[in-house]
Symmetry: C2
């Protein structure tokens, strides 16, 4: 079985399929994030209904709570969370960045103080593979060194060497045929270091490549150009996964430069704050303009929230702080980004991706950048 | 169409049907509480799946937010909240008790300071009927005077006179054939006042009678005996609705004395704190004993939570403070009490209710009374 199969190109954008033990995934794809074994406010049936192909779990979080050994004893993460589709697990490398004040990076791995109880834990390449084997995910990530966008050249240079060493150790520690291990390209915003990291990863002939160390504070145009530069240098026949991206416009721009896989907590996180996506941009449902609106949030949307409820009802639920608000808003935003991926796949297959992209971005009036920058800041500093 | 039809008796327990414009309801029944237009953490599909026949909305809360006029403009409460089954609306009389520090009871009605913004509002018998007409509920409650269990005889005596006057005014103000208005019996723990209030209500020939002013601080045995005494004196051919009750054991004991309808926030509220019902009593899922339990919360339970998830997963969701915890726990507890009603209906039809009751109560090891008393206290003092 070929792991990744491209069936159409439109410019640099690609559409294809990834084959896992738990089914075929159409790319480009977006993975909802189940950090702690639950996509916040949703259940597995919600995920299926909104078109989810694969979810992301976090090895660092699940190792700390409830424990990967416990999950293994209960039959693995799929059974534990009631999701029988594919799961990709993140390694904890990103938490080495986002929980900067709680960790010590060293040659052997990352030593964390738990964000839950302050206890000390060391994740090594070998232990993270053991954890991910216990979780039983379909796609595993190696431990990597993820640094902020303003990291000095020498730190980033050291970081890619350590990452190269760790990925090799992860590859050697990998067990079981059903779990695929990706490589991770780092190198910050430095083209020569990105190039070096890419060469290192290609030398390991991994089945897929993650692009790490982006969406960590750099400006948008640098995110897009670095993603594109990296994608161009990666082998065409392997999937490219841009970690931690993104917003609707980021998804469109990064599919345009040849990225195949994405994950991000942003769509669900902003949903819980009432910020809801539409083709005309992002709106905050708590605004009084929605108080009396009998139409759904987005009249073109096919999500179960928009089919069943008015914008006025969602507005009311947020004002009344009802739990249902968070679930309905999350369903809407995740369906929005997953439908966006579906539409991009169709456009790529039709050879009309550049028109689709232009049409989308022309309509999508991006909310005030200052507001979003603030949200992004909060997000990066949290553990999720 | 007969509004209420009894099809079986077993001792004082009755099973039958209430016919509303939106369908037939099997009694005895339990109404999940959608105070603000949402049963906390659930959506209408959840309610249908767990066997909900009718939900309760609160006129006081919905009048304040989002406003009954707004809901009327959007097509009524059923459409607003996406629930097309029957709805009963509570009048605000109970909030006159539970928000004691925020209200002034007078002959014309109840003047509240809003618990949301402190603004002043007067609910009169006429305005509460207007509000409920705007909401479009299938069964409406009149405004009543609900007093604490330790209220003095003279206060309770005054209270029933005022309630009698208000119920008559509500009856005169009622509009529309599709909304049924109940009477409400008050009288606290005083048998002669209960008897007087019952006579007053019977003289008005209402289609159904609520039993108010119980579960407001009195001991359990007094709740049961007063409910039984009241039920005995009410006409046999009218449904009897015991407001704000209750726990599983309260439901069984009060069906035993002839009550047909119940509502209570307790099952859903304790669920959100992790206290889950089983036939063997109430357990707190956050206890470490559940950390590793691969079985569902209750192996005999047919709810969508128990069918899909282990106790260990629910335990983890509570520990991780995941929103999904509240939904799954609420589904379980509400299904528990609704299945309890279903089982009691069957037992009544089979003439085996007293055996059912004994079997249930023998198995159901009631949690420490001190703990429950504390929870009840918090509940009574809240606005929900």
């Amino acid at each position: 079985m070929v792991f990744f199969d491209i069936n159409a190109l439109s410019g640099s954008a690609r559409s294809g399929f990834i084959s896992t033990a738990r089914g075929k995934l159409a790319t480009p794809l977006f993975m909802p994030v189940a950090t702690q074994g639950s996509v916040k406010a949703l259940d597995p049936q919600d995920l299926t209904e909104l078109g989810t192909e694969i979810v992301l779990g976090n090895a660092y979080h699940l190792y700390l709570r409830p424990g990967d050994e416990l999950i293994y004893g209960l039959g693995g993460l799929h059974k534990f969370m009631g999701w029988d589709g594919p799961i990709l697990t993140d390694s904890g490398g990103f938490q080495g960045f986002s929980l900067e004040h709680l960790r010590d990076l060293h040659k052997d791995g990352i030593t964390f103080r738990s964000h839950i109880d302050g206890s000390t834990h060391t994740l090594t390449p070998e232990s993270i593979m053991k954890i991910q084997a216990n979780l039983g995910s379909d796609i595993a990530m190696p431990l990597d060194v993820c640094l902020p966008s303003d990291a000095a050249y020498t730190s980033v240079s050291d970081g890619i060497e350590t990452t190269f060493d760790w990925v090799q150790r992860c590859k050697n520690a990998r067990k079981g045929e059903n779990q695929v291990l990706f490589g991770i390209v780092q190198g910050g915003i430095y083209e020569d270091l990105r190039r070096e990291s890419i060469d290192q990863m290609i030398s390991l002939d991994m089945p897929g490549y993650s692009i790490g160390g982006l969406s960590v504070g750099e400006p948008k145009n640098q995110l897009y150009s670095t993603a594109g530069f990296t994608a161009d240098l990666l082998p065409e026949n392997k999937p490219r996964y841009l970690m931690g991206v993104g917003s609707p416009e980021d998804l469109v721009e990064c599919v345009a430069v040849g990225v195949d896989m994405f994950d991000c907590v942003l769509p669900s996180r902003v949903a819980r704050n009432g910020a809801l996506y539409t083709k005309m941009g992002r709106f905050n449902i708590t605004s009084s303009r929605f108080k009396n609106v009998d139409d759904p949030i987005d009249i073109e949307c096919d999500c179960s929230t928009c089919i069943r409820f008015s914008a006025a009802y969602i507005h009311h639920l947020f004002k009344a702080k009802e739990y249902l608000a968070y679930r309905l808003a999350t369903i809407h935003n995740l369906r929005f980004v997953i439908r966006l991926m579906e539409e991009m796949r169709t456009a790529i297959s039709n050879g009309s991706f550049s028109e689709y992209r232009k049409g989308f971005l022309d309509n999508y009036r991006v909310a005030d950048e200052a507001v979003r920058a603030k949200e992004r800041e909060k997000w990066l500093k949290s553990s999720d």
